[in-house]
């Protein structure tokens, strides 16, 4: 299992385009899915459906993005799904109370979102300390935290979605950056004045807020991972924790930061979930959001051994799984086949990765 891969860079280079295709197979496969589903699925190609795919994938982009950092350090975060649920429930609960106390919708949303984001940090901090100071394996520390966060979320909401929130939530969450209506002008984050519900079809809408948010988040994280010392150290720790320590990197602090980051973005996914659905949702026990996110990261080229992974790859992984789900159901394939397909793709991802290691 741990036999060294002894191919040299020169040998690999000689494989030319096969290598390039193999290293980018997820993207190629995503494009292939697009082409196939365009033929097999009625209504697959269309703005509405793309919005649908986006709607389903936004929270997972956050989860997968933060999981990417964790996996590059050689760890794993199994708590993201339930941290998301906790943040969602808590954010909604706070909004409900604040709103019931006659606060304005805007104030309600700001307070709720802030609480959700801040609370999201806590589980990651605890996992980070356990992992970096007390040598608890990441699998165990985050598994434990997932039970704890899940229990707390359920205790808060008693197993029901948290409702009674301002209606502006979904208008913002599922809204667009920019609206314009012929003759009535244009506006950011809202319809131009005077547009009625019946005129919606003629309304020009540009850039969904969800997409905007995930583009911003990915851009920031991409900057951090690819161009800063923090990113470089993240890779170094995953490559060899000993080497990193001896090079003077404060590995303990770095790992705490990594798990806080992961948990923070899981919290952000939870807060966004409230804006998307208009209610606070706990994470169902068997939802396996974290497994979905990890699958996306691995499909995106990361190695669970650490030291390897890419944010763009992870986003492609999320989109691939989302398009696969969406396309298969639009094409009328029974839901069950999706599970089988995901399982097979995941194996292909790892096998391809081993046949074509990137040495350059």
């Amino acid at each position: 299992m741990s036999t060294e891969n002894t191919q040299t860079a020169a040998q690999v280079e000689r494989r030319g385009w096969v290598q390039i295709l193999a290293r980018n197979w997820a993207l190629a496969f995503l494009i292939l899915l697009f082409v196939v589903f365009s033929f097999t699925g009625k209504g697959f190609l269309g703005l509405t459906n793309f919005e649908n795919i986006l709607y389903l994938s936004t929270t997972f982009v956050f989860l997968a993005a933060s999981e990417t950092f964790v996996i590059i350090t050689g760890g794993i975060d199994l708590s993201v799904g339930f941290v998301m649920g906790l943040s969602s429930v808590l954010c909604a609960q706070v909004m409900q109370s604040v709103y019931a106390a006659h606060a304005s919708a805007a104030a309600t949303m700001v307070v709720g979102a802030l609480v959700g984001l801040v609370v999201g940090i806590a589980p990651g901090y605890v996992s980070g300390i356990l992992i970096s100071r007390y040598n608890v394996p990441p699998f165990i520390a985050t598994l434990g935290m997932s039970g704890i966060t899940n229990g707390i979320a359920l205790t808060i909401c008693q197993g029901f979605p948290v409702a009674g929130l301002p209606g502006d939530l979904v208008r913002l969450g599922n809204g667009y950056l920019f609206y314009s209506f012929p003759g009535k002008g244009s506006r950011f984050f809202g319809w131009p004045p005077g547009v009625t519900d019946s005129q919606v079809r003629e309304l020009t809408r540009i850039l969904p807020n969800g997409l905007l948010l995930w583009l911003v988040v990915i851009a920031i994280l991409l900057y951090v991972l690819k161009t800063t010392r923090f990113g470089q150290h993240t890779f170094a720790i995953g490559g060899s924790i000993e080497a990193a320590k001896r090079a003077g990197i404060d590995v303990r602090r770095h790992l705490v930061t990594i798990y806080v980051l992961s948990s923070f973005f899981a919290g952000m996914a939870g807060v966004y979930n409230v804006f998307q659905t208009g209610v606070g949702n706990f994470t169902p026990f068997n939802a396996s959001y974290e497994l979905f996110a990890i699958a996306a990261v691995v499909i995106g080229g990361a190695s669970l051994m650490g030291g390897k992974g890419s944010l763009v790859g992870s986003v492609i992984g999320v989109l691939l799984l989302a398009v696969l789900n969406n396309g298969l159901s639009i094409s009328g394939v029974a839901a069950f086949y999706r599970f089988i397909a995901v399982g097979i793709i995941l194996v292909i991802a790892v096998v391809i990765d081993q046949l074509f290691p990137d040495l350059l």
Binding site: N135, I140, G147, G151, F339
Partner: protein, 361 residues
């Protein structure tokens, strides 16, 4: 090793003696505590319920013990469990439809399912050992695939219509005691409402423990078990010392799937149905049981006995809290905390745990 232990002061030794057996002590303490604070806990029925409810945990936990000692993890056990419940239910109904008697249908159906259930394990093994797919990913894939196939088989619902005999077996006991009528075995005569019937030793628990005994023997006493520890401790060294690591790992994952399959079959008998996600919620608990039992996720360390204690600890906890009427939510929190504490305790007594369990077989 001996140098270091000798250097330990006396009080330290007492602490580590407790630390090393904390799971067992915790189990005893919580059982005693529930007897006092939970009315209705200290009864024969509840006592047996702890074991009945613990059956999936014993079997899945033991499955996971093999895999974790070998240095891997098996995420698919929960859905292999569901898969087995569906396949066995379908087979029994089909066999009965083909004219077999209920008894024969159940016998053949269960035996065939035990064979079929090994297939996902074999795939896991091939992926992990031959294609070098990380266990986490390989078994997650197999989780998806078995789930998909079971859902296909039941077409989104569940498999039912099982013969009455299956639930007789699944919910039956070895012996019954009716005051005034005396003992009877396997069945008891009809009695008037309100007459107390004492049921003794559930059949599913017996079935589970037969398998548990076999596989505990395999892990503790045989060369196979010894090699499992060796591979988990250092796969490269195991290869160099001539162990066929690939073939061995394949067998480890097959064993894991076999035990999960058995658990699924017992579920089917107990509840007279096959359900694809029936075992989903046991996955985490089974890993928790293994870790409480002192195994290390880094491989090479762990015991089957420890896992059984871990599973009992969880089962007593859950049953006790149910009797007390505590909401399920809180159980998640408690289990999460216990899991973390389990590992922290191992961190505090590292040399002890490793000298005890590492050399166990």
């Amino acid at each position: 090793m001996s140098d270091r232990q000798a250097a330990r002061p006396r009080t330290g030794r007492l602490v580590s003696f407790v630390g090393r057996r904390w799971a067992l002590l915790f189990l005893v303490a919580e059982a005693i505590a529930f007897c006092f604070i939970a009315r209705g806990f200290f009864t024969l029925d509840t006592f047996q319920l702890v074991f009945i409810a613990g059956v999936p945990l014993f079997l899945l936990g033991l499955a996971e013990t093999f895999v974790i000692i070998s240095g891997g993890i098996d995420l698919s056990v929960g859905f292999v469990f569901g898969f087995a419940s569906v396949v066995s239910a379908k087979l029994i109904v089909a066999l009965q439809g083909a004219g077999a008697s209920p008894g024969l249908a159940i016998l053949i159906g269960c035996a065939a399912t035990l064979l079929i259930g090994m297939i996902p394990g074999y795939f896991n093994g091939v992926l992990v050992a031959r294609l070098r797919v990380p266990p986490f990913i390989a078994t997650y894939s197999m989780l998806s695939v078995t789930y998909g196939i079971s859902e296909l088989l039941v077409e989104g619902s569940q498999a039912g219509n099982l013969p009455y005999l299956s639930s007789v077996i699944g919910t039956g006991f070895i012996a019954y005691f009716i005051p005034g009528h005396g003992f009877s075995f396997f069945t008891h005569e009809r009695v008037a409402r309100g007459t107390p019937v004492y049921s003794i030793i559930p059949l599913v628990v017996v079935a589970a423990f037969v398998f548990v005994a076999i596989f505990v023997f395999l892990l503790r006493m045989t060369k196979f078990g010894h090699h499992t520890y060796a591979i988990g401790g250092n796969p490269d060294a195991a290869v160099r010392s001539g162990i066929d690591v690939k073939a061995h790992l394949e067998r480890v994952y097959v064993i894991s799937a076999l035990l999960a399959t058995l658990a699924g079959i017992l579920y089917m008998l107990q509840f007279s149905q096959g359900k694809s996600d029936a075992g989903a919620s046991y996955l985490l608990d089974s890993i928790v049981a293994v870790v409480i039992g002192g195994a290390s996720l880094y491989g090479g360390v762990g015991t089957a006995g420890g896992t059984i204690i871990g599973a009992l600890l969880l089962s007593v906890l859950e049953t006790g809290l149910r009797v007390l009427g505590v909401a399920t939510f809180n159980i998640y929190i408690i289990v999460g905390i216990i899991l973390i504490i389990a590992v922290l305790i191992d961190q505090f007594f590292p040399e002890i745990t490793s000298s005890e369990s590492g050399a166990s077989p």
